[in-house]
Symmetry: C4
Subunit: 456 residues, 4 copies
């Protein structure tokens, strides 16, 4: 799943404040009118008494360290991501981060092409197809992230404006605040994926060394150059070998692995950010229990709930391509790795890497699904209390709120083809098992052949 690096130095994304092209991405379902209105209100806020964004429990603040990290790998080329004021986040086609991204994409394309020519030569099969899918996914992810970056300034402003109300009473801070939650998820994913990448390299190097030790008929000498040329031969079939190229290729390979993991991480962070707010609404509803509540309170709660749903819609329309890509990617790799469960491997380290990688993959897929499904779960958790509202407090607003919570599918979606809910995960698990059973049968002849001779 990995490939080498090209000659390339990433320019730091700091010098991003030069051009401030105002990009108001046209959302696919444009929230009618209030964008302008909100901006206006937003501006007034900004001029009159600018809120101290840095101290507030805002999504932008929670998420910006990891978006900065992503910029190191040329993902989501935005300007002003480090500013505490979300209004300063901008996107420009003619900017340094964008330039870096293009360079990374070119490098990845080279790996993709190298892989492709190699496969055409030896014949594409369902088995060796996987490398192409990996680089193809990463390339698509780069494009999707650029389009998302284009929409991001509008998204993050709208988001900040919507969540502003949740930072003040009567809403309370949950025990674990948003930044902590996002951090925990992100660090877990980053740590585990670093582990996976390291283990991959260790496994490759050890296999390489053992082979040279055992096979006396091979006259190669173990060296970094030889190792790279053997393991990334598909690149050096279309490029001349040089140590610098090799190092760059390793870098790009790392970047690809990062992007491949960051897709899921980004969806997770978004999901955490949204379900956090629904949780606050639920908490507020819970506090109303056993109280006489006047209609105006319910009017306000419903208003906030509707606004949150609209934010979700808006975010969803910007994120849908990424979600679709991530799901297809995860399903493909889970199926592919499960298929290899019964394969024989040569060295123990290969088994260690394989099982780590498989479990990590399944865990990550389940985690991203469950985190996204949490939005759906959280959005209807207030129902229980609302159903117990006594007949004295009962009013049209409660009825409307219950009706909306009951009938609306509040969840992130893959281009509205499916909604990320817990039931979907169940259905998908069933489908994956079916695929796996058929594929295992399909793959049996290969499996029976066993390992190929080591020293050929």
């Amino acid at each position: 799943m990995k490939g080498p690096t090209l000659n390339f130095r990433r320019h730091p994304s700091k010098d991003n404040g030069i051009k401030s092209v105002e990009i108001l991405a046209k959302p696919e379902t444009p929230p009618p009118k209030f964008i302008e209105e909100s901006n206006m209100e937003f501006n007034i806020l900004a001029s009159e008494k600018l809120p101290n964004y840095a101290k507030l429990d805002l999504f932008h603040r929670a998420v910006y360290p990891f978006m900065l990290l992503a910029q190191c790998f040329a993902v989501m080329p935005l300007l002003g991501i480090r500013e505490s004021n979300p209004r300063r986040v901008r996107f420009a086609y003619k900017s340094v981060p964008m330039f870096v991204t293009v360079i990374f994409m070119t490098a990845t394309s080279t790996l993709f092409l190298g892989m492709f020519t190699r496969l055409v030569n030896i014949g594409i099969t369902a088995k060796n197809f996987v490398g192409l899918v990996f680089f193809g996914c990463v390339l698509t992810a780069y494009v999707v992230f650029i389009r998302l970056a284009n929409k991001w300034p509008a998204v993050i402003r709208y988001w900040t404006k919507t969540e502003m109300v949740f930072t003040k009473p009567p809403y309370e801070l949950p025990k674990k605040n948003l930044s902590r939650r996002v951090q925990l998820a992100a660090l877990a994913i980053i740590g585990l994926s670093l582990g996976e990448h390291a283990l991959y390299q260790v496994s490759a190097i050890l296999s390489y060394k053992r082979r040279l030790n055992i096979c006396t008929n091979i006259t190669e000498v173990a060296s970094f150059d030889n190792y790279i040329q053997r393991n990334y031969d598909y690149v050096f079939e279309i490029l001349p070998y040089s140590p610098v190229l090799a190092a760059l290729m390793l870098l790009i390979n790392l970047a690809c692995t990062f992007v491949w993991n960051y897709m899921d991480l980004f969806i997770m962070m978004i999901s955490k950010g949204l379900s956090y707010r629904f949780e606050q609404i639920t908490a507020r509803i819970r506090k109303l229990e056993h109280e006489e509540v006047c209609e105006s309170v319910f009017i306000q709660i419903r208003e906030h709930y509707v606004k949150l749903c609209e934010l979700l819609e808006f975010v969803d329309s910007a994120m849908s391509s990424l979600i679709l890509l991530s799901c297809v990617n995860n399903l493909y790799f889970v199926c592919y790795q499960l298929l290899n469960v019964f394969n024989k491997l040569r060295w123990p380290i290969n088994y260690v890497y394989f099982w780590y990688s498989l479990l990590y993959l399944i865990g990550r897929t389940a985690f991203v699904f469950l985190t996204a499904a949490d939005i759906n779960e959280e959005s209807r958790r207030g129902l229980g209390v609302l159903r117990r509202v006594s007949s004295r407090s009962w009013c049209v607003e409660v009825e409307r709120l219950i009706f909306q919570m009951t009938t609306q599918t509040v969840a992130l979606s893959g281009k509205k083809f499916y909604f990320l809910t817990r039931r979907l995960l169940f259905g998908m698990a069933g489908t994956i098992v079916t695929y796996e059973l058929v594929l295992l049968q399909f793959d049996e002849p290969n499996r029976r052949k066993g390992l190929q001779p080591l020293c050929a």
Copy 2:
């Protein structure tokens, strides 16, 4: 997927004004009473001050050029399709277009029979079955289109009457008007399908020539006659060969390809026409935001919404057979072509044709599904605004509208067996993958055999 032509000249469908048999097709779900009423109202309009239909943004005006084109291939034999007044559209069993259609159908039947006798001789397999399915689908499509033509005058009148209200304020024209939209979709499909057909011929001719060049043991001389006899041998097993017959066969083959594509195109145009109106309702609802709206406005909006839903029901009951046929047809061909992905082909041009054809097929299938699913999406897009209606403007009519939008599945259907929504497409994709995996396994022995000797 193609076949030859019979001796036949298409009579132009211009002389269609002679007999004016009044056909009031009995819809399967007859909209009670108001058909007559609507006609009456319609008549009054027609006599008192006839609206200048040609200038209005009506569905009939948007769609008639392509229905005219279809008549060139004997699809939907209607009279008066060129008139700007939809009332003039008529259907008659004893008419010139109908006569032309019968001739085309006879010719197609001949191709079908030729294919059938051939297959019975060499043994029907899942693989060579495809030609039979192609001609069978086209024949069925002709019959379905005749039945649809029979209902069309009633449909287009009802449609025009319903959409009249949307051509006046308070409804506004969306940026891209209906004609533009229909044209774009239609030209794309027609252009791409022409490309597919041309590429098919080029691929067949080049393969034919190369074979003659290489195989020295074959004494045939490359000529049009020989080419036709080789490639359409199944026809000339039941008919004597003559150059005129050959030319006709090519024409009929073209007609078949047209019909095969027109099914999907027609569904697309219908879908565009319907979702356009729902879009106008959504736009009108959006404009009401942040305003104090009195109940009468909501009464009117709901009325128009209900009428549109009824129009959809009515159109759906007329179109359902076509939708069912198109879906089955598309699913079959997508499965069949996907199955051939791993097959080896002899010449590069064959690969070019195969991949163009496969991508075109998948694209067209996805396009027709998504266009139809748009009706469903568009019909509930007003919900967001309606949910934000303040408690002052809230009234029973808004409640009814929300309830209807939430609970009713507003979508075209395949005989009510399934509704064309985005979720369906997702489910179908999952099912196709299952089928494909099983079929690939099934087909493996054939695939392993590889290419048969060229010069046998």
Copy 3:
């Protein structure tokens, strides 16, 4: 799928008036209280001015000829089925029809046992399993019909009481009355199934004769006795052969075929009976359009609608076992026959029988599903009109009716595991295709073997 007859003479079911055991079957979901109440009301009606049941358009009148016919084959052993007054219908364990049923069941069990011992000897495979399934289904059907007969008196009384209101104004008779509809469906099924059975015998006899003509090494003489012994060998392995036994076996075989078809026919008749009443409600609602309707009318309509839904529930709880059995049976046989599509057969008459039988089977399955799904379709057809009720006529009762029509799944069910709707049929078709593809692959080795030698 067929077997022979045992020595047995059916006693006519006329002498059924002797014992009148009052059986008030306890329904699984007992309609609370009103059973007694209804009976009381029913009794009053019966004593004061007995309605002329014979002249009314009642379900019992429509269905009794076919239930009488079924009694000839010992299905549903009821007494008093010929009486026009549904109150006279009784069930008794100690009665002549019940005795006849037991004899038929014993005979069928013998066939089942013969088949079973034969299969155990030659080894049960997925292919030869079918005979066992056939007789097993028929036996189960007999049991299920006895249990249904036990509940039938309660069902038909409740049904009659519920439908009484639909025989008077304001409800109108639809164009085709209930008896006509039931008759059409029943005659079609009976005619086609007779054709199937006859064709089966013709096919078997012709195959038998041809074989004797061609195979000179076989010294058998073509005779009725020899024919029976050859074709029903499994019976005469456990019973001694005698011509009387042979004739009886043919009779029992005919009875089994009848029962096998009658399951579906019965479900169809029930469905027609129920959807007919929903159609009348829809018609009544339609007539209200464009009128100012006072609430009391809607109260009445809703009341009748609810009662019809309860009747459906009650009938469903009695019928569910039969529906489950019929569905499983149909799915199994459709899968089995589809699997044989690619098999080679010896004589043309075998092909004729096979294709007739396959198409009949699929047609019957689709027909019974669609007829049952019609209840569901018909039950919500009034929604369109109700949605257009103007805001002046709008009242709580209309709201309740719309809510109920929208949210309740009004349909026959298989023990509540699934509801017979059009969408189910679509899902099932997809599943059958999956099964078929896997099974075809499974069966390929057998198929490749081809026909076995004729004269072995």
Copy 4:
């Protein structure tokens, strides 16, 4: 599916009253506030006039004998389970039952390890995997039950508090009271599973004896020691053999079988307990028919209904892991056993055991699903009567109750991935058939090999 015993004596769980660690398990969806409130009310009740729990028809009283039995096998290590007052039920990590549980778990782990090392040596296949799954499931079940025991004191108190209201008028005792129902289900499962275990031992012993009788080349002497060493060889590869160990291993094996069955039994008992209360609500609603009911009654009914739903939620959040484990376990074993249906076995007793075991497994799976689905069925059974509420009695509370019953999925769930309803069972059956068909094809080569030589 079985394994041997370790040297171990179970300490009776009687001495459980020493430490009374107050554990208020934090429920995953904490019912807000009222836990304390309920406890308070509970305490007042307890101090002022303690209800005679022993005489009431409470869930705790119905279920405690079987929980005591489970403690004999170290399942759910609780203290004070025998007390009639549910408040006395406690859980402590440092307690005798917990200690016993740990010992059992250690022993089971040994069996698991033995099996695992054996399989690694001979190579893991899909076929011999089953033993590992069995012991793995049992181990997981022990852990799940410990976590459940931790939550149980809170659950049973909340449960008792909620059901208190149903023990008094206006609620009536259904004919069969809760204890009877739970007893019937439990005794059936326990009896049948004992039969299964006994039959397993008989089958193993007879096979062992026959083999020694027939195979003259084997010099072993039939003895208990030899039998154990042959049949549980995987244990004595990692442990030295001794008769005491053998006896203990048989005991642990029995315990594993018990746990394996108790999972399902426990879910069934919970389901019976919940559906019983919904049944009482339904009965109460039914009694209101044909009466003029004032709103306060509906307020009360709705309140009880909502409380019951909350209890279900609470129980579900505690039970979900167990339900998930039980479902996965059942699906796996049903698939595995179905796969063996066409396998040849050596002795008749093997067939007897196999078929008994298969039918028992399917029966138990269906039974646990149907019992759980009953909650769902029962929770909406009141709808019929509520729909008939006349327009005079109609009030907002009825509307709310109908709305809730219609839209809420009241059912136990597997971590919200799926809800245990009757429709789920139908979908699962379809999926199992698909799996089975693919697996059968997969397994064919093994099946064709037939039996291995007896005396090898």
